[in-house]
Amino acid sequence: MVVLISGGWLAVVVGVLLGPGVFGLVGAENMQEQLTPALQAAMGWVGLMLGLQARREVLQGLPRWIWRVVSLDALLVGLVFGTAATLGVWAWLDRWDWGGVWWGASILACASAGWALETRSLVGIETPAKYEQARLAVRAGGTLSALVWILVFGLLLSIATRGADGAVSIDPIRGGLRLAASAGGAVLIAVIGRFALRIAGKKADAQLAIFLGMVAMAAGFAGQMGVPALTVAAMTGIVLANLSEKGVREFERFILRADLVIATLVALLAGILLSPGIGVPEVAIGCGLAGMRLVFKPIVLQRGSPAEAESGPLSIAGVRQSPVALAMALSALLIEPSSYMARTLAVIVIAGIVCAVLPVVLSWSDQRTKSVNDVEGVAP
């Protein structure tokens, strides 16, 4: 068996080693100064990359059942994970604090959306050709679900706003206005970026300058508005992707070259920033979320996908947590750099690691029972 555990988790471990909990190369006292620019850039980059995937033509070309998968996942996240996260956070805080429960539950629930897009590790060498639809369900369904929940995440975190005195209050009007202003900013950045790309043509250095400018501006404006950088950058990407086809595809290809590097950076930052003081409650909530994923996510993929995709190792692909979950927790940490947010990040990391190990174990046992014919069907 080839055990492929996503490299991101190794970067998380490296981050933990570098962070204040172990070797302390990045000290706790000046962590904000050192890491905020990198965090903003990473969040902006991830958001923009994901947003650019939402091109109208691509979405229209997807089979209808993908939307069924996304809707089922949305229901699952909203109802089951939302309720469980609220109860879990309430118990964790040991008191009812509207702002605290709202934020914690929103982050944990939204982080449960979608799944990792990795499909190879579940079948050892390569996904069998006959599981092509299952692979589409994992990849397209996972991307769309993450994108939808990034927007919901922004909305939920904006509703509970922290005033200048530090008190968190549920204020849909004020939060809505901030989110609307951010959306306006995202549209403006996208329009300006589109025009800049038209001038830049195929010049790679100019494309890079424009892209970095858009990432920084979207993430920075989000920070100023108190809205997650991930959400505003994703909005910018969505608008940019749908303004016009010409030139944007080239730009998208250009920035996608860095996806592995950015994913590693996000994981590294998560490792550095997660709270070193993890106790039983964090582990319990993390394992609880992982357990729920194990139970419910395969159902979403099986019920949503057509019959051919129902069986096989990829049906458990949904168990593995999406890397976007880390980005969501980091985005929240940018707005509120508190110990509570660092612990919430730790919960997500624990859930993610458990979820990364589970499918490997399960696909291993699945392979042991596989017939010889299945093995012969492995695609080149």
């Binding site: 620019p37 005195d165 025009f195 890079l208 750099p337």
Partner: protein
């Protein structure tokens, strides 16, 4: 004004409007100090009852400022290019526009955060400058490089020290307490700033015009050689100055020698180590080159600061080593460096522009005009004499001086170090303003002049690079 120019102006207005909106509507977590003093940092309490400091305003603004400088200055560069001016003049002007002197969108506090990006830029520019020094191509002009470099440092330095008493009479705090001592000290401290020119401007113009002939090669080699001499000169001047007026850290002669002996060879040794490390990475890994470059440049900036080395020399040496010893392996790396250079130039030059305080120029106008005239005439004379003695080609002989007019980051950094080191002196603020005024004029006029010089000397008088024409 044609439609595209109008749209570019509108895009700049849009970027500025967004930055203004973010700046105005940003959540401010600072509250007035209970004692009625300045703003105090607020400690908030999270849902678990733990206190934490909310993000500082300058940190919140940092991302938006980087975006503003990148997008805005890029558009400004495009706009200036449409009028036949160098893009970097556009970046500088945009920096001045958004800096504390005019719109105030990039504040003094957020400039500290931008220093991080600036340090990366300095290392990347030095790495590129080092890579442009190809020993094989420089063999023919080695004599002129040595003669002009020494001529600039000795001739221009001496002229600055001698003329300083004449020009500095009206400057606030000069000669009031220590007689003529402070005038000579200021002259000594001004000399390295007057001598320095900008390797970044040369590289940016090469990038923009696509012209890289003998004049550019010679100018770059002289600039790099001059930078090495400047590090030593500056350390000597600042130490002597401190011991003469008692400002900053007065260092004993022996300690000065020890410091110099460790700084320059130490920086060269560190540069060799970095170069070898990069060569090893390219041989063994050879992937994710932008990551290698960014990490190397940040590493150079941070480690040099910690070890008291000169980041500029470290990166220069690494670049020279890569280009001349491991040129085959380094080719792909320098292609990536070129790709990264445009965003770096946008931020670097716009930050340089934002640092200029236009409000204080009136007070130092006389002295500034004097130093500008001295520098321009001095550069022209030394370059003409040096090229004549060494028998340089006619184009180089006539136009080389234009490459030494532009100033930017190196000069600004030297001025800032002097201001910090001598902050207890009554003339420190006035001196800083004066130097900024001199640098500002050379920053804005230098690139225009040099672009003309490159076109006349090294090639064609074109506005667009081959890439532009293709696009």
């Amino acid at each position: 004004m044609d439609r595209r120019t109008l749209l570019i102006v509108l895009a700049i207005a849009g970027v500025l409007g967004l930055a203004w909106a973010g700046h105005t509507w940003s959540i401010d977590f600072t509250v007035a100090d209970a004692s009625g003093g300045g703003p105090a940092e607020l400690l908030l309490t999270d849902a678990q009852g733990q206190s934490y400091a909310p993000p500082r305003e300058s940190l919140i603004d940092a991302g938006a400022n980087v975006g503003l400088l990148l997008l805005g200055s890029w558009f400004a560069g495009v706009l200036f290019k449409r009028f036949g001016l160098p893009s970097i003049t556009g970046y500088l002007c945009f920096g001045i526009l958004v800096g504390p002197s005019l719109l105030g969108l990039v504040t003094t506090e957020s400039k500290d955060v931008l220093e991080l990006v600036n340090n990366l830029a300095v290392a990347l520019i030095a790495l590129t400058a080092g890579a442009e020094l190809k020993f094989a191509e420089l063999k023919g002009s080695l004599r002129s490089v040595v003669v002009i470099s020494i001529g600039m440092v000795v001739g221009l330095g001496a002229a600055t020290v001698l003329v300083a008493p004449l020009l500095l009479r009206g400057l606030d705090g000069v000669g009031t307490e220590e007689g003529m001592t402070s005038v000579w000290v200021i002259g000594m401290l001004a000399a390295p700033i007057i001598i320095a020119n900008s390797p970044a401007v040369i590289l940016a113009l090469v990038n923009e015009t696509g012209i890289k002939g003998p004049m550019v090669q010679t100018a770059l080699a002289i600039t790099v050689c001059k930078d090495l001499l400047l590090v030593v000169t500056f350390a000597v001047m600042i130490t002597l100055g401190a011991s003469m007026v008692g400002g900053g850290e007065a260092i004993e002669g022996g300690a000065l020698a020890a410091s110099l002996a460790s700084k320059v060879p130490g920086s060269i040794a560190a540069g060799i180590v970095v170069g070898l490390g990069m060569a090893w990475y390219l041989r063994v890994v050879n992937a994710h080159l932008p990551v290698l470059i960014v990490c190397a440049c940040f590493g150079i900036a941070i480690v040099s600061g910690l070890l008291g080395l000169e980041a500029l020399i470290v990166a220069l040496v690494a670049g020279v080593l890569m280009e001349n010893v491991y040129s085959e392996r380094a080719e792909a790396m320098f292609t990536e460096v070129n790709r990264l250079s445009l965003p770096v130039y946008c931020v670097f030059f716009s930050v340089a522009g934002a640092k200029l305080d236009l409000g204080a120029l009136d007070d130092v106008a006389f002295a500034a005009i004097g130093f500008i005239a001295l520098r321009t005439i001095g550069v022209w004379v030394i370059a003409r004499v040096g090229t004549a003695i060494t028998g340089s080609p006619p184009g180089v002989k006539r136009w080389l001086w234009t490459a030494f007019v532009p100033q930017a980051g190196v000069s600004l950094a030297l001025a800032a170090i002097i201001q910090t080191q001598f902050s207890d002196q009554p003339w420190a603020a006035g001196f800083y303003t004066l130097m900024l005024a001199v640098i500002a004029v050379h920053e804005l006029t230098g690139p225009v002049l040099m672009k003309l010089g490159i076109a006349r000397s090294d090639g064609r008088d074109d506005q667009d690079s081959p890439e532009d024409a293709q696009a």
